[in-house]
């Protein structure tokens, strides 16, 4: 089962998910992986990127949702930023809704990279 974000708003169940067709549309609108990675160093860009990403996440299961409704829902969501700024150990870090949204967006491509090779590796940290 692919990654999904689910929640209830105004007594209606919503499922946010990206398929590859929506992924292509998002990239065509200028939101590339590189731009998402650069958000940390360019927070102002988030004002354009996040609303677009959030709106597109509705398109697979709720194509009739308008931008206005998507914005309204976004403003009502809890835990948007998570606790990534609190210098916690890796296993305790929660990137919140925005982190989950970015992970959701990457899923259609990331899943094609799950083929495992045979080369063993180790890390130094």
């Amino acid at each position: 089962m692919a990654k999904q974000i689910t929640f209830k708003y105004d007594n209606k169940e919503y499922i946010l998910e990206f398929n590859r067709e929506v992924f292509k549309k998002v990239e065509a609108s200028g939101i590339t992986m590189a731009r998402l990675e650069g958000l940390e160093n360019n927070p102002a860009d988030a004002l354009e990127v996040i609303p677009e990403l959030w709106f597109r996440a509705f398109q697979m299961h709720h194509p009739s949702v308008t931008r206005e409704l998507a914005d309204e829902i976004y403003h009502s969501m809890a835990n948007k930023g998570g606790n990534a700024e609190q210098n916690l150990p890796d296993e305790e870090i929660d990137f919140g809704l925005l982190g989950a949204l970015i992970e959701l967006y990457q899923e259609p491509v990331a899943i094609l990279y799950t083929e495992q090779g045979n080369t063993k590796w180790s890390k130094s940290w």
């Binding site: 089962m1 692919a2 998910e17 990206f18 398929n19 590859r20 067709e21 992924f23 292509k24 990239e27 065509a28 590339t32 992986m33 590189a34 697979m60 899923e107 259609p108 491509v109 899943i111 094609l112 799950t114 083929e115």
Partner: protein, 135 residues
């Protein structure tokens, strides 16, 4: 270029990687795995992983079948080999039933052979018994 530090190369030649291109390039491979257009582009994106794994299972099964075919060829060639020896002899009979592929099949085959052996013994015994009774 040769001799330039790697970081300078990265700064001067950075390009934005468009994963849409990667998806377009991967699409024919997943069609080959058996996915439809709708499944690859519009449905649950984890389907691709399952289709890839299913393809690998099919490939392993096909390989197993081809290997088994080779075993049957080998058995057949061994059975007819006496015909081509220096002093040609009668070839051996080919396998009377398929080679069992699992422990369960092996047990069933052994039971069948045992019950046929018992049946043959009983028939022989009855024929002998009746012969002695008449004679």
């Amino acid at each position: 270029m040769v001799g330039e530090p790697c970081s300078e190369n990265k700064e001067s030649s950075r390009e934005v990687t468009l994963f849409s291109t990667f998806l377009q390039d991967a699409f024919p491979l997943y069609l080959f795995y058996g996915m439809t257009y709708e499944q690859f582009w519009c449905e649950d994106c984890s389907l691709a992983d399952y289709y890839r794994k299913a393809y690998e299972l099919r490939r392993a099964e096909e390989n197993q079948k081809l290997w088994l075919q080779g075993v049957y060829f080998y058995v057949a060639l061994c059975d007819v080999a006496p015909l081509y020896s220096w002093k040609p002899q009668k070839p051996q009979d080919y396998l009377s039933e398929p080679i069992p592929l699992s422990e369960k099949e092996k047990e069933k085959q052994d039971e069948r052979k045992q019950s046929e052996a018992i049946k043959e013994y009983m028939n022989t015994f009855m024929v002998q018994f009746n012969k002695e009774k008449e004679g």
